[in-house]
């Protein structure tokens, strides 16, 4: 009897999971293998693929004129965006976690940029960044700073795009907020009884309890920002020069504008490895700073 019950339970489970399993196998793991497989061929979308072994990678690392710049631009952008949005969103979440009037209103307000369509955001910001009549140069002129080319200069373009990412990081705020509300009240009360002041409570209780959430946000925003492509598509076309030609954008250009599909696969696989390395480093170092309550699952 129980055996039969278990069987029917398993049957229901597999039925429920069919869509997810198809998604995982057909849309995720097989394409991952395929991207590596394809990168070992020479194929431009027509005819029979030609086996070339690791030649695509050799070419990428030795002769490609854009590849090194693309890696630098991607890592630089990801670094600024991750650091900026983590600091900003943790700070805002901290403020929003206090008992203040109209909390829901403020929360909605800081989240708002995240729900705007990316394309419109970049177009809107390109007007704010406009050199002669834009908002930012106007604000700078009020404090006596000369006009800056935000999008038009290769030195400023990455920090300018990263600032937009920081502005868009409302989702991190919400996750941080959720984390704050899960910090056990008992710890706080115990510390208070023991005479710990607000500052000590913050550093000794809130932050350690938050480290898993910080880790999660750090990991996810790192993965997202290392794949950055939309600002280049929507706004800069990789320019000026190659200064915002991100790895994913380079892949897009090779694959969909020049038809070099297999070569672009090599770029995709390198970017997979790059993100993998960053993820592993983060996981490895997390043991030294992430607090775990132990015991419970």
């Amino acid at each position: 009897m129980t055996n039969q019950l278990l069987k029917s339970e398993a049957r229901t489970a597999y039925l429920c999971l069919i869509p997810s399993i198809i998604g995982l196998v057909v849309l995720t793991y097989i394409p991952l293998a395929a991207v590596f497989g394809l990168s070992l061929f020479r194929w431009e979308g027509v005819g029979v693929p030609q086996w070339v072994g690791l030649k695509n990678y050799v070419r990428l690392f030795s002769r490609d004129p854009y590849f090194k710049d693309a890696i630098c631009a991607t890592v630089y952008f990801a670094f600024l965006s991750v650091v900026g949005s983590m600091v900003y969103s943790l700070f805002v979440a901290l403020l929003l976690n206090r008992k203040i009037p109209a909390r829901g209103f403020f929360r909605a307000l800081f989240y708002l940029p995240y729900v705007l369509p990316a394309m419109a955001v970049y177009i809107g910001w390109s007007w704010l960044y406009e050199t002669n009549f834009g908002l930012f140069n106007y604000l700078l002129s009020l404090v006596g700073i000369k006009k800056v080319m935000f999008i038009g200069s290769s030195k400023m373009v990455i920090p300018s795009l990263a600032l937009i990412t920081v502005w868009l990081s409302g989702n991190l705020i919400v996750i941080f907020l959720a984390g704050f509300q899960n910090v056990p009240r008992i710890y706080m009360e115990a510390a208070e009884t023991d005479g710990a002041n607000a500052w000590q409570r913050f550093w000794r209780i809130t932050i350690p309890c938050m480290t898993p959430i910080i880790f999660y946000n750090l990991l996810m925003s790192l993965i997202t920002n290392l794949q950055v492509v939309t600002p280049a598509l929507a706004l800069t076309n990789g320019g000026p020069g190659n200064s915002s030609c991100f790895l994913s954008y380079l892949m897009y250009v090779y694959a969909f504008r020049n038809g070099k599909l297999s070569y672009a696969c090599a770029i995709a696989f390198v970017s997979f490895l790059l993100i993998g390395v960053f993820t592993l480093v983060l996981f490895a170092t997390s043991k030294t700073w992430m607090f775990s309550a132990g015991g419970d699952d």
């Binding site: 997810s20 203040i100 708002l112 009549f133």
Partner: protein, 285 residues
């Protein structure tokens, strides 16, 4: 002791007031770009290119919107975008709920393995699989210039994070509820539909909102899969529009503001459930 408590209360009140002031300043800064875009949409081009610029338009030219709509087919783009988003969001939310339910409640062989595969895929960059998927959809299944490659993937679990979110949420519902229903003779599907789903409504709304935003922002895939003008989404249409106008910033800002609206409306409708939804999941492990 009483005095101590009183001074503590006062301290708290001061801290809250400072927080409030900082929040007001910060939110003004955060809103400034949106205001600037909106105020630009109400100005004439002549006024836009004046120095120094002003924070308020001299005259609020709402007629700019009417003029822009004459040559910017916003409604068509919106309809196209919704044709993709509505089925995808429904499909993603339902299949994520089913997957989350199986992982949270049911026992079956291979559960641990499947769950790790699922969580593992969260770490996998979506850019990496783009080209093989493109080849599969356009060459393998011959879906060229079609919305299906954008919609169908969402019927496959709606993404690992969303499955995980639903699973966490279901774990917080007491099992006694399902057990009582089992005794009354309800099957697993019945339990899912009539007990679990009503209880996790807010999590499902969160998932729907996240999926909506994800598709809304997915410019790259829309560019890749959609070719003909008549099928353009808001994202592609807007970029085309900007490319064709170059310096008519007042019209470009009108088009930009229009495309802000649907996301904001959807968010405000679901807002209430949002943080609650994420808090309830615990997000601990």
């Amino acid at each position: 002791m009483a005095r101590n408590l009183k001074s503590k209360k006062r301290q708290e009140r001061i801290a809250n007031n400072v927080t409030l002031v900082v929040l007001i300043v910060l939110s003004a800064i955060v809103m400034l770009p949106i205001w600037w875009i909106f105020r630009s949409s109400l100005m004439s081009n002549g006024e836009l290119f004046e120095w120094p610029p002003t924070f308020l338009p001299k005259r609020w030219l709402f007629s700019n919107y009417k003029k822009t709509l004459e040559f910017y087919p916003f409604w068509k783009y919106l309809k196209n975008t919704m044709t993709i988003i509505v089925p995808a969001v429904l499909g993603g939310t339902i299949t994520a709920t089913m997957g989350g339910y199986a992982f949270a409640r049911l026992r079956f062989p291979g559960k641990k393995f499947l769950f790790s595969l699922c969580i593992g895929s969260m770490l996998l960059p979506t850019m990496v699989t783009l080209i093989p998927l493109y080849i599969m959809w356009t060459r393998g299944l011959n879906l060229v210039d079609s919305y299906l490659p954008l919609i169908l993937p969402y019927f496959c679990g709606g993404g690992a994070f969303n499955i995980f979110l639903i699973r966490q949420f279901i774990s917080t519902i007491p099992r006694e509820l399902d057990e009582a229903a089992t005794i009354d003779g309800a099957g697993h599907f019945r339990i899912l539909v009539s007990i679990i789903m009503p209880a996790i409504k807010s999590a499902m709304i969160v998932v729907a909102l996240l999926l909506f935003i994800q598709m809304w922002n997915d410019l790259l895939q829309q560019i890749i899969y959609i070719n003909s003008d008549s099928k353009f989404t808001i994202a592609i249409g807007l970029s085309q529009f900007k490319g064709s106008l170059k310096s008519d910033w007042s019209a470009i800002m009108c088009a930009t503001c229009m495309s802000f609206v649907p996301g904001v409306v959807f968010y405000l409708l679901g807002q209430k459930y949002f943080v609650e939804g994420i808090v309830m999941t615990g997000m601990k492990n």
